[in-house]
Every structure is written in structure tokens, then in C-alpha cells.
Symmetry: C2
Subunit: 124 residues, 2 copies
DNA sequence: ATATTATTGCGATTATATCGCATTAATAAA
DNA sequence: TTTATTAATGCGATATAATCGCAATAATAT
């Protein structure tokens, strides 16, 4: 199964990389207009996550947000940090703080998904 | 606006209280069968959250989970703890650890929503 | 230039949750 | 207890996020 480079793919990757924030499908669609189909955007994003070049985080609004992996190289594909979602302007940012996951014995963690929602400095 | 005590309401509250875990609409519906309508379950849960007798948490699967408030009395209506969702059996538990929310200056937090997903001891 | 097939676009579909509105039933008042 | 008031419910329609099936398109190997 040879992977192919397509226009949609590069457009979406560029959008992810240009954004300092985590973006939803909606944002990407708005950015790209109707040039790329909705289903394609979702499929490309899902592939990016599988390939490990993007993160998927589920917002406390129940929507999916995506961000290009910057720090995580190769094996260490973790992002144990919190995200902040502004209730007013809707932007989702990665917060600097790492969270240490302390779990009771016997639990096997796979993913961390943390959100603080509230008001960002611009909207407060 | 006088609040009324109804059968649905007490059934749902009892379900919440009996469950040691956070439950989704689906779980509650399964528990109660068709005796209570879907919309009613959602509406009652939403009211519970407004009244401060239940917590709403959004799972990293994008679904809403609800839990009866136990510790939080009156003013201190916080639940800055993580939740664990088992990828196998689907159960959602509250973890003991409190998380301290350190935010950069200017950010005004309103809610915390944290999930670790993975495998619980029974499923690991 | 051609063949192969990964990827796309489109429409239909699933899943979660909410809404409008007529009906029901919990509570207050008579 | 009976009646009136209206909060709450049930039902069907609707909103929104995301996925799926399948024919058409286009990226790459030959």
C-alpha cells in the first residue's frame, strides 16, 4: 500500500502546521473552502493521527481537535499536556504544563486528554 | 418556577447514585428501559447539572458522562480530578488524584475535564 | 504512455444530543 | 377531596459531528 502525496493532504498538513492552535474540522474546512471535501478532511486527519504526524484531542465540547506533532519524534509520541478552550472565541491552545499521570495499580494508560475551558486573556 | 418531583427524576437520580462510575445516557437508558424517554433523561441530567447535584464530564470519546456529586457541597462545586475510561469495557471511573490547574497569567478557568483512557485492571 | 490502485467527492448513514409542542401529572389552591 | 396551574414528559422532528459505500479521479510505478 503505497502512500500518495495529494493536494488535499498537503493543504491540510500546511493548515495544521501554520496554526499555533489545535483546529477542528470546521476550522480547516473554513480555511480551505469547498476545495476539499468534508469526508476527505476527516479521512486525512485520521491518517495523520495513525501515521503519528498529528495529535487528536477531544474537546470538552465533544468535538475533535487536531494539532501537528511538533515535539514528539519517533517513539515518544506523548502529549501529556493540558489544553485550554476559550468559551468565547473558541480557540484551543496547548498549555505548557505537563501532567504526570498517576494511576492506581493495575491500570494501563494509553491516552491522556485534558481540557480546561474558560476565558483566554483576549476574551477575559 | 416550582420544581416538581417526578418518577423519572428519582429513577435517574437513583441510577446515578447507585453507580460508582460516571454513566452515559446510554447506560441510564439501558438501566431504565423504555420506561423513561430519551429526551427526558437528557433533560433531567441537564437540570441536575444546573442544580449542582450532578457533574457532567465529556469523555475522550466525545460522549457525555454524568456522576452524582458526592464530595462537593454547596459552594465548592469543583471536581478537578481525572477520569479513567476503559477502552475495553467502557466504564468511566473517577480517579483519586486532584489536578492543580496552573494557567499562564490572564487565563480564567471555568471547567476542568480530564480523561485517561486505557485498560482497567479487570481488562488489562 | 499506460496500468494500478490510493485517494477523493458525493450522497447516504450513524450517532449523540436537543427542540417544539401537545399531553400528562405534580403541586397549590379552593 | 376536587380543581386549577403549569412543570415535566413523550413523541417525532431536527441539529450537529463524524463516518461509510461506491463510483470517479489522479498519483505513482512500470
Amino acid at each position: 500500500m503505497h502512500v500518495r502525496n495529494t493536494k488535499s493532504k498537503s493543504l491540510i498538513l500546511e493548515t495544521l502546521k501554520n496554526s499555533k492552535q489545535a483546529v477542528s474540522h470546521e476550522k480547516i474546512q473554513a480555511e480551505l473552502g469547498e476545495s476539499v471535501d468534508r469526508a476527505t478532511i476527516y479521512r486525512v486527519l485520521n491518517r495523520f493521527c495513525e501515521e503519528g504526524i498529528a495529535h487528536r484531542i477531544t474537546g470538552d465540547d465533544g468535538k475533535q481537535y487536531f494539532a501537528a506533532c511538533l515535539k514528539c519524534q519517533g517513539k515518544e509520541h506523548r502529549h501529556n499536556h493540558l489544553h485550554f478552550r476559550c468559551l468565547n472565541c473558541g480557540k484551543v491552545e496547548c498549555l505548557p504544563n505537563e501532567i504526570e499521570l498517576k494511576l492506581p495499580a493495575g491500570y494501563r494508560p494509553a491516552n491522556f486528554n485534558g481540557f480546561i475551558s474558560g476565558h483566554c486573556p483576549a476574551c477575559a
